[in-house]
C-alpha cells in the first residue's frame, strides 16, 4: 500500500496467485472486460510466445477522489509454473491482499495444494504474515467436467476462515465476486491499520457502490459478498 497524503491518493496492490493454468490471467481479462473505460487502463501482460505468463499481468483500476481519497488498484497475476518461484516472490512483494485461484478439477487437487504451500512460503520469505494478509480463495473452471463437488467444497470452506468463491472465469462468472470480496477484506484491514475513514472522511459504502457500478454489476455489496460457498454467516458482512 502506498498512501500519498498530499495528493490524497491510496494505491493498493492485489495479487492473483495459484497453480499454472488455473485461470489467473483469465480472471484479470474478465475484470478488464467488465469494467468501464473510465475506471481501468490497459491490461498489461508480460507473456511468453505461447501465451503463458512470464513475469506478471497488471490491471490498473482507478476510482475517483469524490470521497476524499482517490483509490488506485494494481491487480497483478503471478506466473504459475513451478520454475518461476523467484518471480512469484518478487511480484508478491508489498502485496496488500491475495486471491488464490485454484483449479476445480479433481485431478488438480494436489497442484492446488502445492501452489498454496508455495504461496505460504513466499509470503514468509517476503516477511508477510500469512495468517493476517487478506486472502480469498476461488475455485475456478466450474464449467468443466470432473470438478470437485460444490457440497464437498462448501463443507471444507465452512471449516476454514478464508471466504471461498466458485467461478468460471472464461464466462466471467464469479470473477467480480472474488475481486470485490478481496478488495473488501483488504480495505477493512487497511482502514483498521491506518484509520482511512477517519482521516479522510472516506465513505466506504459509497466507494464499494461505485466499484460495483464501474464493474457493471447491479447487485448490492452484501449480495456479492454472500455469494461465497460454505459461509458461516449467510448475511455476509456489511461494511
Amino acid at each position: 500500500m502506498q498512501l500519498d497524503f498530499s495528493s490524497r491518493e491510496l494505491t493498493i496492490k492485489l495479487v492473483y496467485y495459484g497453480p499454472a493454468l488455473s485461470g489467473k490471467t483469465t480472471n484479470l481479462q474478465a475484470l478488464h472486460a467488465a469494467s468501464t473505460p473510465d475506471a481501468t487502463g490497459r491490461l498489461m501482460t508480460l507473456e511468453t510466445r505461447d501465451d503463458r505468463t512470464l513475469f506478471f499481468d497488471l490491471l490498473p483500476l482507478t476510482f475517483g477522489s469524490e470521497r476524499g481519497l482517490s483509490v488506485r488498484l494494481k491487480v497483478f497475476t503471478v506466473p504459475g509454473q513451478v520454475i518461476h518461484s523467484s518471480t512469484r516472490r518478487l511480484v508478491l512483494q508489498g502485496a496488500d491482499g491475495v486471491a488464490f485461484i485454484a483449479d476445480s478439477r479433481v485431478a488438480e487437487t494436489e497442484n492446488n495444494a502445492e501452489a498454496f504451500r508455495d504461496l505460504r512460503e513466499n509470503l514468509k520469505q517476503n516477511g508477510i504474515n500469512a495468517k493476517q494478509i487478506p486472502l480469498v480463495l476461488q475455485f475456478n473452471k466450474r464449467d468443466l467436467p470432473d470438478v470437485r463437488g460444490e457440497a464437498e467444497l462448501a463443507e471444507m470452506a465452512a471449516q476454514g476462515k478464508e471466504p471461498v468463491y466458485l467461478a468460471a472465469a472464461v464466462k466471467g462468472t464469479g470473477v467480480v465476486d472474488t475481486f470485490v470480496a478481496l478488495l473488501h477484506q483488504t480495505w477493512q484491514l487497511l482502514d483498521s491499520q491506518h484509520g482511512l475513514v477517519e482521516k479522510f472522511g472516506f465513505d466506504t459504502s459509497a466507494f464499494f457502490a461505485d466499484v460495483l457500478v464501474k464493474l457493471n454489476d447491479p447487485r448490492p455489496l452484501s449480495a456479492v459478498l454472500s455469494s461465497r460457498v460454505g459461509k458461516k454467516n449467510p448475511e455476509g458482512s456489511q461494511p
Binding site: 508480460l46 513475469f55 512483494q93
Partner: protein, 475 residues
C-alpha cells in the same frame, strides 16, 4: 548483495505511475510521429512535458505570426495567443479547442497515462473551412499592418475540416497512449528481468554458502577419519605383533612341550593374527596414500620377474581352487619406472582377487606388453600443448580372469575404500574392501592408470598402465 540493488525496487516500479514522458518514450521517436502527421495533413503539433518543457515538435509557426511579430501591435497579439495556449490545461482524457486573437485555432490535448496528466499536446495553428472573415482584433492590431498582406497570409493558413481535426486528435491520443503503454511495459519487463536475475543470484549464493559450510565440515571429518585410522592402526599393531610372536614361540616349543591339539589351536591364533596384521597394514597404507606420506622408491624395474614371482607365490592357492594361473610377456619388454615392492603389492592384490572370484576350471592370466598412450592435454602437470600428439611409452599389464565379472555400473566404484560389489552379509567372498582402493592409489602414485574391461566371453580384465620413463625425460 547491496552493490547489486537497483536504484528503485521492483515494488516501487510496479506500483509507481508518476512517470515523466521522457522516461517512457524517446524524443526522436515522438518527433517522427508528429512529423508523419504533418506530412499527411499539414497540421503542426508540439508535445510538452507536465513541467512545460518542449519535448517534440513538427511544423513551424505560421507566416502570419511571423509578419505580426514585426509589428508592435502584432507582437502583442502573438503574445496573447501564446499565453492562451499555455494557460489551457485540459483534464486527462479531454481536449480543448481554442480560437486565438489572431483568428488561428489550436487544440490542446491532455497527454495522460494511467489516469495521470503527463503533459500536453498542442495541435495547430489551423483554420476551419468556415473561417473566411479576418477577425476584428487582427484587422486592428496595428495601424502599420497592410490589409492586403494580412489577407494573403490568412489564405496561406491551413484550412481544415472540423471532422479531420477531431480525427487527428483521436488518432494522436490513441497512438501516444500506445507508445506510452509500450514504453511502460518495456520498462517494467527490463526491471523485472534484472530483479529476477538478482533474486536467482541471491538464492544461488545462499545455497552455495550452505554447501561450502557442509563441504568444510566434511573435509574436517575426513581428516579426523584418516587421523583416527592411522592412530588406531598403530595402536593395534603393537599388541598384535606380540600375539603373533608369542604364539610362534609357543608353537616352536620354546616354552615347553605342547600336545597336538594345543598346537592346532596355537596355529589358528597365529594364522588369524597374521590375517589381522595384513588388514591393519592395508589400512595404514591407505591412510598414508590418502595423506600423501607414502614414499615410493622408484627405479628402472623389469615387470616380467614381478609377474612370474606372483604366479609362483599364488600357484598353490590357484591349484587348490582348480584355477589355471599363468603369466606371459615378451622377453624384450622395456623396464618401467616404479617401486618394485609396491607394484608387486598391486599385482598380487589383483591376482588374488581374480583367483578369489574365478570358479573351478577357470583361468587367470597375467600379461604385459609395451604400449603408447596419448597424453591428456588438460593435465596441468603434463607437458604443454606443443606436446600434442606425443605418445607416452607405457607398460600395460593385464590381469584377466574368467570369473563372475563386474557390471559396467559398478566398475568406477570398486576402487572406493571399503566398497564391496556384493555388500550383503551373506556374500560368498570375504575381505574388507581395501585392496582395490590401495591398488588405485598406488597406481596413481606411479602416474599410471587402472581401469576395468570386460573379458570375452566372461570375466574381468584389470588393465594397469605404468609409464616406462619419468615424464621429465620426454622430449
Amino acid at each position: 548483495m547491496t552493490s547489486l540493488r537497483p536504484l528503485r525496487s521492483l515494488d516501487e516500479l510496479t506500483m509507481e505511475s508518476k512517470f515523466s514522458v521522457q522516461e517512457l518514450v524517446s524524443r526522436s521517436a515522438l518527433e517522427e510521429l508528429l512529423a508523419s502527421l504533418y506530412d499527411l495533413f499539414g497540421i503542426a503539433s508540439k508535445v510538452f512535458a507536465s513541467d512545460g518543457a518542449l519535448i517534440a515538435e513538427a511544423g513551424s509557426g505560421s507566416a502570419l505570426q511571423a509578419y505580426l511579430s514585426s509589428l508592435p501591435g502584432g507582437r502583442r497579439l502573438v503574445r496573447e495567443t501564446v499565453e492562451l495556449v499555455k494557460s489551457s490545461t485540459p483534464k486527462p482524457n479531454e481536449s480543448q479547442q481554442l480560437q486565438c486573437p489572431t483568428g488561428e485555432r489550436y487544440v490542446v490535448v491532455g497527454l495522460d497515462y494511467d489516469g495521470r496528466l503527463l503533459g500536453r499536446v498542442v495541435v495547430g495553428p489551423f483554420l476551419l473551412i468556415d473561417d473566411r472573415e479576418l477577425p476584428e482584433a487582427l484587422l486592428r492590431c496595428d495601424p502599420a499592418a497592410a490589409l492586403q498582406r494580412l489577407q494573403e497570409l490568412w489564405q496561406l493558413l491551413n484550412h481544415c475540416e472540423a471532422l479531420l481535426i477531431a480525427r487527428v486528435v483521436v488518432h494522436l491520443r490513441t497512438t501516444l497512449g500506445l507508445v506510452l503503454f509500450s514504453g511502460h511495459r518495456a520498462l517494467l519487463a527490463s526491471n523485472m528481468h534484472l530483479a529476477s536475475v538478482q533474486e536467482s543470484f541471491r538464492e544461488l549464493s545462499e545455497k552455495s554458502a550452505t554447501l561450502q559450510v557442509a563441504y568444510e565440515r566434511l573435509k574436517d571429518l575426513d581428516r579426523l577419519k584418516s587421523n583416527f585410522l592411522a592412530t588406531v592402526s598403530h595402536e593395534l599393531r603393537t599388541p598384535l605383533t606380540s600375539i603373533i610372536g608369542y604364539s610362534e614361540m609357543l608353537i616352536a616349543g620354546i616354552a615347553g612341550d605342547i600336545n597336538d591339539e594345543q598346537r592346532e589351536f596355537m596355529g589358528t591364533i597365529h594364522e588369524k593374527g597374521g590375517q589381522l596384521l595384513e588388514l591393519i597394514k592395508g589400512l595404514l597404507d591407505l591412510t598414508k596414500l590418502e595423506s600423501g606420506t607414502l614414499s615410493l622408491h622408484k627405479t628402472e624395474t623389469p615387470v616380467l620377474p614381478i609377474l612370474r614371482d606372483i604366479v609362483h607365490t599364488l600357484l598353490p592357492t590357484a591349484r587348490a581352487k582348480g584355477v589355471i594361473l599363468s603369466a606371459t610377456g615378451d622377453a624384450g619388454i622395456p623396464t618401467l619406472w616404479g617401486d618394485a615392492s609396491r607394484l608387486r603389492q598391486v599385482f598380487l592384490n589383483l591376482t588374488e582377487n581374480a583367483i578369489k572370484f574365478t570358479p573351478a576350471e577357470g583361468s587367470v592370466t597375467l600379461s604385459a606388453e609395451m604400449t603408447h598412450v596419448e597424453l591428456p592435454l588438460e593435465d596441468e602437470d603434463g607437458p604443454a600443448i606443443v606436446m600434442r600428439g606425443v605418445k607416452r611409452p607405457m607398460i600395460e599389464i593385464r590381469v584377466a580372469d574368467t570369473g563372475i565379472g563386474i557390471s559396467e555400473a559398478e566398475r568406477p566404484r570398486v576402487f572406493d575404500a571399503f566398497y564391496q560389489v556384493d555388500s550383503s552379509s551373506t556374500r560368498e567372498q570375504g575381505g574388507a574392501g581395501l585392496g582395490l582402493s590401495i591398488v588405485k592409489r598406488l597406481v596413481d602414485a606411479h602416474d599410471g592408470t587402472v581401469h576395468i574391461e570386460q573379458n570375452v566371453p566372461r570375466g574381468t580384465v584389470f588393465v594397469v598402465r605404468i609409464p616406462c620413463r619419468r615424464l621429465s625425460f620426454l622430449g
